[in-house]
Amino acid sequence: MMEAAGRLGLDGMLVAPENAAEAALAGTVAVLAPTHLNEAVAVLAGTAPVPALPAPASAGGDAVHPDMADVRGQLRARRAVEIAAAGGHNLLMVGPPGSGKTMLARRLPGLLPAPTPGEALEITRIASAAGELAADAGLLGRPFRAPHHSASVAALVGNARLRPGEVTMAHRGVLFLDELPEFNRQSLEALRMPLEDGEVRISRAAGSVLLPARFQLIAAMNPCPCGLYGDPDRECGCAPQRLAAYRARISGPLLDRFDLQVDVPRVEAHGAGGEPTTAVALRVGLARQLLAERRPALGDEAEALLRQAADRRFLSGRGVDRAQRVAQTIAALSGETEVAPDHLAEALSYRAGSLG
């Protein structure tokens, strides 16, 4: 509303004192927060001075995210998370319970650069509209949303009363879906439009509205319903048909939206702690800058390797495109301006679709 007031060229806005701080975040027009009706009349009549605009609270990005240093071992999965952060790629992690999938996902927002002031404002505005903004919160950092798999379609994409769904709440941040196959199929299918367009259409009795939903999707799943498939120590009790049905719940088109897929096997708990978030975020930030300036071009050898992978049906048509984009991110992470064959080969190792 404050932004609209700014666009209309209004002088100021009267708001209740409780909302004054939030309204001021928009930084558009003067915020008048009279504590009493008489005060409001006095201001409007020009008999009292316009109160000074309170200083806006600090910009976003100060949210505290857990640190990558806490993740022991899981070198390949950490690498996948780093690539996902650098390229804004959607990531699917497959591994047994307790292997650290959720831990890794929660650390991804911390690797992303702080939102620009415009992005922070969008994030804050959405939280405000949903009534989830604390009274004394400043501009918010990137959201991390982790809806439970029992979430309804309406809870995920928003409902007719314009309550934003999780896809909108995750705008400019991360939407984490743990136990992906346990989500109901309609909910998963409903994710396809926002994943494609960065916005979501909510239909109401009188027409429909578009809400922003530009999020990065991170999903996790067990290798089978009981989670023990392939476990070296314990027995998986899932019947083959049940296993197939479990995997079939993730439709091809949805699987196709994941740029990266990585196994997260269970490892010994005493593996070494890894690099801290600050170190990884530095590489991510540099890669993002490089990618924003110019996406690395595919070298001839890399091009040949990509064609070879496509010919051997390693990749679907969409997969070719995705492997190329992931390879560009990998090249950018090593500061290269051209995609080398090794970058492409590494990208191929994370291709989605082979669920064991």
């Binding site: 071992g73 390949r76 690498r79 070296p232 080969a345 191929l348």
Partner: protein
């Protein structure tokens, strides 16, 4: 559909070595000559729930043996059985499936496509009349036919108690060769095969091993020698992180190497993210 009666011409002599040969043999498919196959016949059996590695091995063995002239026999079950049939068909060779239901009943449903391909290029055999529904007790009985029809039985991935071991027992009783693919001890799918090996079964690690047992000549396929990652995996399968440490490669370098080898069909991954030599069965 064809019916063959015991003590009538055309009834496979091998089945008469059983103490309870079926009175009738019901067949679907045109290629009756497969019952009188003169070159080696190999049964490839194993777990219905084998991992990618087991499936890849079954497929490779079947393909290699079939290409060298063997007839591959199995039970059209999910997992190893299906991979074995697939492998033989992939070599452009026929294959013979012995069912535990009527020969016209394409069970399990998942294997309907495979059933149709075997019907066209091979032969479907059963001791049960057409229309007989599958029942749990019919499958162990079916296994004795698989053993009897073969010169050698290869078990690829089997738990300690499994149908594949019943087939192996029958094979022993009949004096057929029993062969097994070894597995990692902690892996339950290796319990049955490793027990067979301890009891003296022939150890099969490759198509060359199998063709050696069967007395078949096979052209040795070229391989990417000298690749340290492939050599390490041949030494011992492993998870990427473990391999990174063993080979002193960064996760990025290792991932690139794994993808190249996988693309070349040299290595595959099990359902748990562990890599090993062999190519995965692509067809489901």
């Amino acid at each position: 559909m064809t019916v063959l009666c015991r003590r009538r011409p055309g009834y496979p002599g091998r089945l008469l070595e059983l103490h309870d040969p079926p009175a009738e043999l019901h067949l679907c498919g045109e290629h009756l000559e497969l019952l009188a196959w003169e070159r080696p016949v190999v049964a490839i059996v194993g777990s219905r729930r084998a991992g990618d590695a087991g499936l890849g091995m079954a497929r490779q063995l079947a393909r290699g043996a079939a290409a060298a002239g063997a007839l591959v026999v199995s039970g059209l079950a999910l997992g190893v059985d299906a991979a074995a049939h697939e492998g033989a068909l992939a070599a452009g060779a026929p294959t013979l499936a012995v069912l535990g239901c009527g020969p016209d009943v394409a069970y399990p449903r998942t294997n309907r496509g495979l059933y149709a391909r075997i019907l066209a290029a091979g032969l479907i055999v059963s001791e049960y009349p057409p229309g007989t529904e599958p029942a749990p007790w019919r499958f162990p009985a079916r296994n004795r036919l698989i053993a009897a029809l073969a010169d050698a039985v290869v078990v690829v991935e089997a738990k300690v108690r499994s149908g594949a071991l019943i087939t192996a027992d029958h094979a022993l009783d009949l004096g057929r060769d029993v062969l097994a693919v070894p597995g990692w001890p902690a892996f339950s799918g290796a319990g049955g095969t490793n027990a067979l090996l301890k009891a003296g079964a022939g150890l099969i690690e490759s198509v060359e091993d199998l063709n050696g047992w069967l007395g078949l000549e096979a052209p040795a396929p070229g391989s990417a020698d000298g690749d340290p990652v492939l050599a390490a995996l041949r030494d011992q399968p492993g998870y990427p992180d473990e391999l990174s440490a063993r080979l002193r490669l960064s996760p990025a370098e290792l991932s690139a190497a794994l993808a190249r080898l996988e693309l070349g069909g040299e290595i595959c991954r099990d359902g748990h993210g562990r890599w090993m030599p062999g190519s995965a069965a692509r067809a489901r």
